[in-house]
Amino acid sequence: MKADKTDKLIESAIAALPYRRPSAGFSARVMASLAEAPEPWLARLARPAAIIVAAWSAMVAFLSAGAVYRVLSYGAGLALEPGGLDAGLRLVSARLALAAGKAAAALSFIADLAAAAAAALACTLIIYSVGAFRPAAQRI
């Protein structure tokens, strides 16, 4: 019974603890940060979208760097020869015609890339939305 009475004493002592007040302007700061807060879906979308766009851009730049270098180095050599400018223009035209022929295949490849990127983005959003409602790990 003594333990019960001691427990009651502890309970009432804790229950009687006064509430502390935050510093002046706390409410105003919170309301201001609410106004600044971006829409959650937008905030959730922005970061993974930026990462995916950056990653795919880097990959495309890396893959096309070799071809661009070859064209530029060949074109520079050609421009130094007499009548090189005309030859260069013809070369560019021929390359463009060749590229147009491959456009369908290229578009199909880009569509595949975009679909893969969209799937990755969708998966990321699902993981983020599930994680948003998970309680913090109880390690403390």
Partner: protein, 184 residues
């Protein structure tokens, strides 16, 4: 839930953001005090309380009205405080829920405890406890929450809450019996 509180929540859900100021006014002292007693630092406590209110505002649409609004808000505050403690590397292992052997306090403890229980002393006592124990004591006795409600707030099973409450009370008794400064 109080009627005024219900109306404020409904107004917020209806898109009236200014109604959140009313909820903020109702809860700011409680949430700040809770954070302060866990984090023991006024600046960190204000930051955690602010984060909790901002998260509550953003996530208000996910609030389930079947549960008390206070439990939902305290759960967010609990998470913010745990994040702050973790960020400050003030971690306490829960492996085995460290609980030392306590002495038999049957003789004389009541007198000792009743002599030591002024608010300053109990405040210091709570501050000296690991956060997992001070938290359940505050939620149970200062916020009048039952074990089931505390379980929702801290995201632990109800049995764990009851065990922590028991252990927390025993730790307080030992500390008070030993004069408050003893490390258990």
């Amino acid at each position: 839930m109080a009627e005024a509180e219900t109306e404020l929540v409904q107004s917020c859900l209806g898109g009236d953001n200014s109604a959140f100021a009313g909820l903020l006014e109702l809860y700011q002292d409680r949430i700040y005090s809770f954070a302060l007693r866990l984090l023991k630092d006024p600046v960190a406590a204000e930051e955690a309380a602010q984060e909790a209110f901002v998260k509550a505002f953003r996530g208000l649409s996910s609030y389930n009205k079947a549960y008390p609004f206070s439990s939902w808000l305290f759960r967010i505050a609990h998470n913010a405080c745990m994040d702050a403690l973790r960020a400050g590397n003030r971690t306490v292992s829960l492996d085995g829920e460290d609980f030392p052997d306590l002495p038999d306090l049957s003789a004389g403890v009541e007198t000792k405890v009743s002599e030591s229980l002024d608010s300053e002393h109990i405040e210091a006592m709570l501050a000296s406890l690991p956060p997992i124990y001070s938290e359940v004591l505050l939620l149970a006795y200062r916020e009048n929450m039952g074990p089931a409600e505390i379980a929702v707030v801290i995201g632990a099973p109800e049995g764990t809450v009851k065990a922590r409450l028991y252990r927390a009370r025993e730790l307080v008794k030992v500390k008070l019996y030993r004069g408050g400064g003893a490390t258990v």
